[in-house]
């Protein structure tokens, strides 16, 4: 029963299959099947019999619908750039450890456990036109009129930043800490300054990690839903593609059309991923990974 962990791949015996079966079955029945069923359903419009692309044609011939793709990109792309560059800045600065690292890491991660709804409510209050943030700026004499930070793109991006930043930061910190520090030291010994070390030594080594971070943050941001409703204008400038899909499903009860929009959303995320992989392949690859800080 007890096999060796390393070694040649082997066939599984009955016990092992029985151990794997429940969870595999679960994921297949409640994840793979619905996913495929959704694709099939999207090809069977309510109004027409048989298989057709009518839903997709309807989506791409209605500006109110296909416009959501552009809206979602204008939210997801800037968020991804801001989140990854800030996280990279912070993680790079902390790569050799800093004082109070554990406390700082804990605080940075806290927003994740609070959840998106609470964050959105808090942001609406704190950054709203009557909130403390604007009061402080006006009180300090920096502003005469309150800044409009919620119920628009900025509000949604604030919330996305709070959700995406912590896990992007942790991922990059883990990745950068794993890079062999002797490489950096050697570069310094050979006379490289901080900028050269970053640009010529560290950046190529960090590239795979950065690419994964960009991909994950982009895909997650592209599915933005509750904060686009609570902190944006869900019927206007922040009507994202997820909101469009939700409307079709639960207000028009057209599951077929809704599935088509969900498929389009998935394809957009896939397109983003492919783009990231292509850009990454054009960058210099450096395979040297060492033990690094533990």
């Amino acid at each position: 029963m007890i096999g060796s962990r390393r070694g040649e791949p082997r066939e599984l015996d009955l016990t092992a299959l029985l151990c794997l079966a429940p969870s595999v079955l679960y994921v297949v029945v409640l994840f793979v099947y619905p996913f495929l069923h959704g694709i099939y359903l999207s090809l069977r419009p309510v109004k027409q019999p048989g298989l057709s692309l009518a839903n997709y044609v309807a989506f791409f011939s209605d500006e109110w619908q296909y416009g959501t793709i552009w809206i979602t990109f204008t939210l997801a792309v800037p968020t991804t750039v801001i989140v990854v560059s800030t996280a990279l800045f912070l993680a790079y600065g902390m790569r050799r450890g800093i004082r109070m690292e554990r406390t700082i890491t804990t605080i940075l991660v806290l927003p994740v456990s609070l959840g998106v709804i609470l964050l959105s409510i808090g942001i609406q209050g704190f950054y709203g036109s009557r909130g403390w943030f604007n009061q402080m700026l006006i009180g300090a004499g920096l502003l005469s009129e309150p800044l409009q930070l919620t119920n628009n793109h900025t509000g949604v991006m604030l919330s996305l930043f709070m959700q995406q930043f912590p896990f992007c930061f942790l991922m990059l910190l883990g990745y950068i800490s794993g890079i062999d520090p002797t490489l950096e030291k050697s570069a310094r010994t050979l006379g490289a300054n901080s900028w050269i070390v970053f640009r010529r030594v560290m950046l190529p080594l960090m590239a795979p990690g950065i690419a994964i971070a960009v991909a994950l943050v982009f895909v997650m941001s592209f599915a933005v839903f509750p904060s686009a409703i609570l902190l944006g204008q869900p019927a206007g400038s922040t009507r994202t593609i997820a909101i469009a899909a939700y409307h079709q499903a639960f207000e028009h009860y057209d599951m077929s059309y809704a599935s088509a929009i969900a498929v389009i959303m998935g394809l957009c995320q896939l397109a983003g991923l492919v783009l990231i992989v292509l850009v990454r392949q054009r960058m210099v690859m450096a395979p040297t990974m060492g033990v690094g800080k533990r």
Partner: protein, 273 residues
């Protein structure tokens, strides 16, 4: 000099992030206790009436009950489904393993809004649509893989010698499981359980898409009350938000008190070396 500036900028950013987080949380807290509050630094007078209002008007007793049932069921079922799979994945090397790991990985990296609508459609096609059972089943989709990925390293930490030794001494498979694997993986199960608990309580998208009027969890009910905006006094919504936050923080505190994941495994494994 440049290094100093760099770390100054770093600490300033962290300070800004903390202040921003504190502001967000405190604003909700103060607003929940405010009688009314318009554009002043602090509300002129305080009250606890909004908590009573929120509790009775938002049917919070029932909502909390649903949340507890859903969260606990998801924890137990996810661990039951994930435990044996994690054991095999940690111990065996077999053909198609990478593919299997990818299958478990997908529900974690594909956004819930992307697969949630098709999942909701499927669940509504079954007689359980919109019930608490549907909410539990939906939440298990990302949580079973999460439990598997959390448990795998805990199994890997247990020395194979322990199992071989027990087998040599004539222990049956059941005995090995009951007397060796189960006690040694308690920390792993606690860690996974806590992660699942926090995730299920604060998970919005999937629960929102599959729940009906009687099966909303706290966070979904909170969303509906914010969304109904204007109808509800903002202070009562903040009171509810505060109760939600308190629930999450209590779970986190209890969790951190009980779970010291690495310690126990390490201590028990030491005599082996």
């Amino acid at each position: 000099m440049r290094g100093k500036l760099w770390s100054l900028a770093l600490y300033l950013f962290v300070l800004g992030f903390i202040l921003n987080l504190l502001g967000i949380v405190t604003h909700v807290t103060v607003s929940a206790f405010a009688k009314r509050w318009f554009g002043t630094p602090l509300p002129p007078s305080f009250t606890t009436d909004w908590f009573v209002y929120a509790w009775t008007n938002f049917d919070l007793g029932r909502v909390l009950g649903v949340t507890v049932i859903v969260a606990l069921s998801v924890v137990v079922l996810a661990l039951l489904l994930a435990y044996p799979a994690a054991y095999i994945l940690a111990r065996r090397n077999f053909r198609g393993k990478t593919l299997l790991l990818l299958l478990y990985f997908l529900p974690l990296v594909i956004p819930q809004m992307t697969y949630g609508i098709s999942l909701a459609t499927t669940l509504y096609g079954w007689p359980i649509g919109g019930t608490v059972v549907a909410v539990i089943l939906a939440n298990l989709v990302p949580m079973v893989p999460l439990a598997i990925f959390v448990l795998i390293p805990f199994f890997e930490q247990i020395s194979l010698n322990l199992e071989w030794g027990a087998q040599t001494l004539g222990a049956s498979r059941l005995q090995i499981f009951r007397r060796i694997l189960l006690p040694l993986t308690v920390p792993g199960m606690l860690t996974a359980g806590v992660l699942i608990l926090v995730n299920t309580v604060s998970n919005f998208e999937l629960t929102f898409l599959v729940s009906g009027s009687g099966s909303q969890t706290l966070v979904v009910a909170l969303f509906y009350n914010v969304f109904a905006g204007g109808v509800r006094p903002v202070y009562s919504v903040d009171a509810m938000a505060l109760m939600y936050m308190a629930t999450v923080l209590v779970i986190l505190l209890v969790a951190l008190h009980f779970v010291r994941p690495t310690q126990m495994v390490f201590r028990l494994d030491q005599p082996m070396r």
